[in-house]
């Protein structure tokens, strides 16, 4: 039986993983984002919650000053194929080696395009707390 995300959190001797969590674009739905924030907190992570209507610039500022380990962005409006790669590119251009995890409605056929664009993980709308925490931790670990 797999550990609950809380057990994983407590058993970690590593310092808490710091995640910048944001939504790109104009969409105002933040229910999922808030739920994910709580899941990550319960999984022992520190969530720098930026919330709605962020731009790649504001996210990069935060990643830099907060020395974040992972960026989590949420999108519901089918903008993932433009906004996802754009976020990765912006981080690379700023010289920040920080993995990006995308959450939202992403059809399977778009997954390989996102992976090719450098996205470190994709979470669907029905992902459980364990899956969310595991995905973000794996992304944090994937960093050199």
């Amino acid at each position: 039986m797999s550990k609950s995300s809380e057990e994983v959190g407590r058993s970690q001797t590593r310092p808490p993983v710091r995640v910048v969590l944001a939504k790109l674009g104009l969409d105002g739905h933040d229910r999922g984002l808030k739920v994910v924030a709580r899941m990550l907190r319960d999984g022992g992570m520190e969530v720098i919650y930026l919330g709605l209507r962020q731009t790649t610039e504001t996210i990069i500022d935060a990643v830099e000053q907060e020395d974040a380990d992972v960026v989590g962005i949420s999108m519901l409006n089918a903008g993932h194929l433009t906004l996802g790669p754009r976020m990765v590119e912006a981080l690379v251009a700023a010289g920040l080696d920080v993995p990006v995890v995308i959450g939202g409605i992403v059809p399977d056929e778009d997954l390989s395009a996102l992976v090719d664009a450098g996205v470190a993980g994709v979470l669907g709308p029905g992902a459980s707390a364990d899956e969310v925490v595991a995905c973000v931790l794996a992304a944090a670990d994937s960093r050199g």
Binding site: E6, G9, R10, Q12, P15, P16, A37, R38, L40, R41, D42, G43, G44, M45, E46, V47, I48, Y49, L50, G51, T58, D61, A62, E64, Q65, E66, D67, V92, A93, A94, G95, L96, D97, G144
Partner: protein, 352 residues
Amino acid sequence: MIPVSAVVRSVAELVAAARGGERRAVARLLTLVERGGAVADEVAERSWSALGGITEGSTDGSRAHVIGVTGPPGAGKSTLVAGWMIRLVERGCRPAVLAVDPSSPLTGGAILGDRVRMADATAAGVFIRSIATRGHAGGLALAVPGMVRILELGGFDPVVVETVGVGQVEVDVASAADTVLVVVTPGMGDAVQANKAGLLEVADLFAVNKSDRPDAADVRRDLELMLDLSGLTGHHREGVADRPSITSTVAITGAGLDELADATETHLVNLATTGTLVTRREERWRAEVRSHLDRLLLDSSHQLVDALIRGSLLTGDESSAGKSPAAVARGLALLLAEQMTEYLDGVVEDDR
């Protein structure tokens, strides 16, 4: 295009880069200090010497005006700090903010939501770092002075440490500053809460936020009354002749923030001219040394006590049988003292 660096820089490189004003280096050093351990020690040593150590003008190595901001939750502190910092930027300052939020005692995680409330400040160039308390009592008291020092190294001034002032730890953190600002709001019994939290003894300045509310006059009056009382009972900060000033603000519109900026600057000037600044910074330095000492002794004694427990010296031993727990402890303390001397010799050896 800046190439993504695959190389992890050394502490020395990071310190040099931070001194040159590189934000990324500052951020990375903050992380290293936060994590503690040997690397944090190295950062402490190098940043200390890079700052120039203790001098006549800086009796605790300080290079910036350190301001603690605290107060009951819901007072709008983040909005207030954001607006105030923007005005300081306009006045030519380079402010930085450490925003502290509590970690979940159960999971060790945290949601750090101050940054999002200060979005306009980051846009104006204010450096903002969110810190979680990470659940170690006293751990925060260790990390924050070190982090403040990194921000000073990076050339930021003033450095604001913002906490939610409901616990002793947060009050301690806020009071490890040159100037302590307590923010209250009308209608929530804030003045009473602030008093209970011990904030009235450490406050240098007050801000009554949301002062456009009809009951703002009440909270101001409550504060004045409590200050009168504390004056009568002798509870006031050492060496400060003046009563703490009370500034009315409406953070969301910006009203009163210029006055607040003036008040904090004036406070710093007063501290300097009355010689109180030197005293406070010396006390801060002593407090920081004490924190480290506590940590050192606590860590070493815990390890040894664990060993004692494992060696069953604390359970059902004949020599303990007739003694009270306090007496048993006293006996063990002597044993511990010997073992600790050995242990600490090893620790201190590294510094030689």
